[in-house]
Assembly symmetry: C2
DNA sequence: GCGTAATATCTCGCTCACCGAGATTATCGC
DNA sequence: GCGATAATCTCGGTGAGCGAGATATTACGC
């Protein structure tokens, strides 16, 4: 596999994009006095809310690869910042549901807003078919790596 | 901006890919008894070596958004793990150059190898023009976000 | 050349994110 | 009901990263 092959270029740029997004998250976190982990958690929680997946501490911990102690600490932090609220699940009273506060969605938009604007601006230069190609490729990579990680 | 618009789908999948890559890094780190930060540092150092950019603690700290104390601790860790070597710069003797050991490149390949294999497999289903479209799009997003972060 | 400012790195003390182990509380199958 | 299982939380400890400041080397103004 040549270092200059088209596919290797793709790998490099993909990696560079993830590094860049990480740094964006870290800077956003620092600017708002929270930790990169909190931003990552926020992303997962907003994602869950968007997809109507019930979010619990256990679920969040699995997403973030944190153990239960770390997860409790994380949720404590988020609750203290008034970004989430703990509520008991009436069906299974062992469970605690995490509900994102409005403050959290606002924070989420102020993080993603600029990113979305960037991507929208870039997308201007591509036609619908091309964007569909990009989306298809990224989706395939996503599923492929998720698959690989699960094994 | 509709949540189901093609561009928003792209944003979501891009974000999902970065989350997935983060998790890959974290799991790789855990499996090798090091920290996600160490893996990130390794990526930056191997990148620098590949591009013939001289890597110093200061440079690495800027890439990672660590302050000097944290950077020193990081380099200490990497040196203890025999992944990098500190050498004095003869031109500017205030500076310390970080040279990656062979062990580090091996570790890098064992991390990227599987990822590359995934991307290569996915790329099979796309022709050269399509891959070029994807690469162009990601490169544009990369530059655009780098630009935005600098301001 | 000489003193001063700027630059690169490191040291010290501290905070707190995260882990391992285990306690607590609630649910389910028998 | 009772043991097994599951979800969450508590406690104690480790160490990554920060702020402040020390040290060493180089660049600049005179």
């Amino acid at each position: 596999m040549n270092d200059r092959s088209p596919v290797m270029e793709l790998v490099h740029v993909l990696r560079a994009v993830t590094v860049e997004f990480d740094l964006l998250g870290a800077e956003f976190a620092a600017r708002h006095g929270l930790h990169p982990t909190d931003v990552r958690a926020l992303i997962h929680l907003l994602d869950a809310a968007r997809k109507d997946i019930p979010a619990t501490p256990g679920w969040l911990g699995r997403q973030m690869r944190l153990n239960s102690a770390g997860t409790t600490a994380l949720v404590d932090r988020l609750e203290r910042l008034e970004l989430v609220r703990r509520t008991k699940d009436t069906a299974d009273r062992r469970r605690v549901l995490l509900e994102v506060e409005e403050k959290a969605t606002e924070l989420g938009w102020s993080f993603f807003g600029p990113v979305i604007a960037e991507v929208v601006a870039v997308a201007e230069g591509f036609d619908t078919g091309e964007l569909e190609t990009v989306r298809g490729f990224l989706t395939a990579v996503l599923h492929s790596t998720q698959q690989a990680r699960a094994t």
